[in-house]
Symmetry: C2
Subunit: 338 residues, 2 copies
DNA sequence: ATAAAAATCCAAAACGTTTCGGATTTTGTT
DNA sequence: AACAAAATCCGAAACGTTTTGGATTTTTAT
């Protein structure tokens, strides 16, 4: 493995000069710089980032800390798309990304801060963390720069990216209302998710603005799980037969509701209209295809990485990035659309 | 950031002793070791892996090199599941994983070897690489330990994990034959995939053993793409109306064939039976649900990581790992199954 | 009590890079 | 020609570890 020292010897200069030549400093003659570059290429040199990181005290590496990257979680590829987005930006600016997964065999009893410091990441992106997760506490206290996805905490070292969940939910419900629905139920996620709170708010606002009453008993907790949502939908539909539409806080839960409707022999969308949230791949493949509020998860990852690295390099204007959502109308709300 | 030196000072010993105490060497008194551990905890010490990696000349980090981790590729979550599996094993043995994506903005004109050496990964896992990919050449020549997924190359430093694609394809086709189909078409992937070759072989073997003739013109190239498969299926069905069943080398292509059948007004499975390969999430959500040969992609990632790290630590028996596949019978081949 | 053996400790070098402060050479000005 | 200024180079220290080869102390055996 050739080092800077080998190059120095071959070029007949000091290692200082080699370093400065390769890093584009101006106090080295252009002729010798060319020679050094040439030799470096010949010797097939590649810099040792460990050594560099050690002396510069930064690694040009960011950590992506996700929660629940298990075999089962792959159905909902939210995590994956975010990851792909992060990866995209990171590779554009020549950083690296290392993946930390928290729940996987929790025996890894390292704290968030330890993980980051040990692996010398310059900063971290956190995805899928719950509001009550102990990690979250640490983040705010530690001084490691990080950006959160879908959790609105801001400080000197903390930023976040999210979508406008209030507006997103509102658009979904307004869509249902515009179709003539008056008794709309909602299947929400669990209480420890910030987005759940927001989407409920959007749900209420849409009803209010349309002059419709809000009924607490038409909102159920689906815990972001397909089966759970199915059960709740069955319960709601039997207890409140006036319901003609469902707004679900995730597509996965909407799938559960679709199952429930089928079990109860209700036709979609004629008897029950269903709209989800996320726009996962599955959404366009179900029968009928699922209407939903699309979040650009790839963009969320991309923007999170961008924000983090801007923060690291001290050129972040704001620590907050809020993305748009898009209403996708498919056949679970409107028959024979398109 | 506290270092080993700080601990040494606080404990009144040399840094050598601190290092050896913390790393469990036997030539340090148990009493002083306890004291050192205590102090380290108090000072909230975490080791600097950069420094350690520098001197030990290894980083306890492996690279996952994937091809085509783009926004679009998320439909087929093969990559993601492999990644989750790799991550799982890696975190069990306290390694780290850094992700390299090749196609994303190809401007990153670094070679495979450069990438690995620069980031000081101890080894790499390659997924989604085509047989004709320039990277592949490098791997065999470089001396960086690596394991390939679904490409059977073996050497001192190279291993691979794959599934038994011949047998898998055979099982799929035997299933179709057992249902009475005699005119079976195959939609294969592109020619630069090793698995395509294998699956074709399995297709032929199954026909042969059942005493059925193999017809070249019933095999089409779907390039692993949904749309392409759809077109080919339409062509085949119109040119060869005797076809009653399709074996597809991927689920994504099977989806295309399903669309084709629907367009042509053919009922599934009564008029056309379809079986895929992979068992992607979508497979169980289509109407009708898709029969397929399931590959445990998570396990592939897990085993790849395991193999690689065993190779790195010099305790790999074999450099080859071949996993089982499983026939999943759903309604695209058998009506009202279950 | 003494020598040998075992246990416990440590100084210094090494890993490959960046950077500080200054040294040397070249160029420009008069 | 002489000096100042600019351009170009370099030695040595530093980053935080591990490890080598030995030094020192304690224990054991006689």
């Amino acid at each position: 493995m050739t080092t800077i020292k080998d190059i120095a010897k071959a070029a007949g200069v000091s290692i200082t000069t080699v370093s400065r030549a390769l890093n584009g400093y101006s106090d080295v003659n252009e002729k010798t710089r060319q020679k050094i570059i040439e030799i470096a290429k010949q010797l097939n040199y590649s810099p040792n980032t460990l050594a560099r990181g050690l002396v510069m005290n930064k690694s040009k590496t960011i950590g992506l800390l996700v929660s629940g990257l298990t075999r089962e979680s792959t159905k909902d590829n939210f995590t994956f798309e975010v990851l792909a987005g992060v990866n995209q930006y990171v590779s554009e600016v020549d950083y690296d990304m290392v993946l930390f997964s928290t729940t996987s065999t929790k025996q890894r009893e390292k704290t968030y801060t330890q993980l980051c410091r040990e692996r010398r990441v310059d900063g971290a992106i956190l995805q899928g963390i719950r509001v009550d997760d102990p990690y979250l506490q640490e983040v705010v206290e530690s001084n490691i720069p990080c950006v959160l996805i879908d959790i609105p905490i801001e400080s000197e070292t903390v930023g976040y990216v999210t979508t406008d969940n209030v507006l997103g939910a509102k658009k979904a419900v307004q869509h249902l209302i515009s179709l003539g629905h008056r008794h709309i139920a909602m299947i929400n996620g669990y209480e420890f998710a910030f987005v759940s709170e927001q989407r409920l708010k959007g749900f209420q606002e849409a009803l209010f603005e349309a002059g419709l009453p809000f009924h607490e008993h038409l909102v159920a907790n689906g815990a972001f799980k397909e089966e759970r949502a199915e059960q709740e939908a069955v319960r709601l539909l039997t207890q409140h037969p006036e319901i003609t539409a469902f707004f679900c806080a995730s597509d996965l839960m909407a799938l559960g509701v679709m199952k429930a409707a089928k079990t109860l022999g209700k036709r979609i969308p004629e008897e029950i209209a269903i709209i989800g949230y996320d726009d996962i791949i599955l959404a366009s493949y179900t029968t009928p295809p699922l209407s939903t509020i699309a979040q650009n998860k790839f963009a969320m990852g991309y923007e999170a990485a961008k924000l983090l690295i801007e923060m690291l390099e001290g050129k972040a204007q704001s620590h907050i990035k809020i993305l748009e959502t898009e209403l996708k109308i498919r056949e679970s709300t409107v028959k024979n659309h398109g």
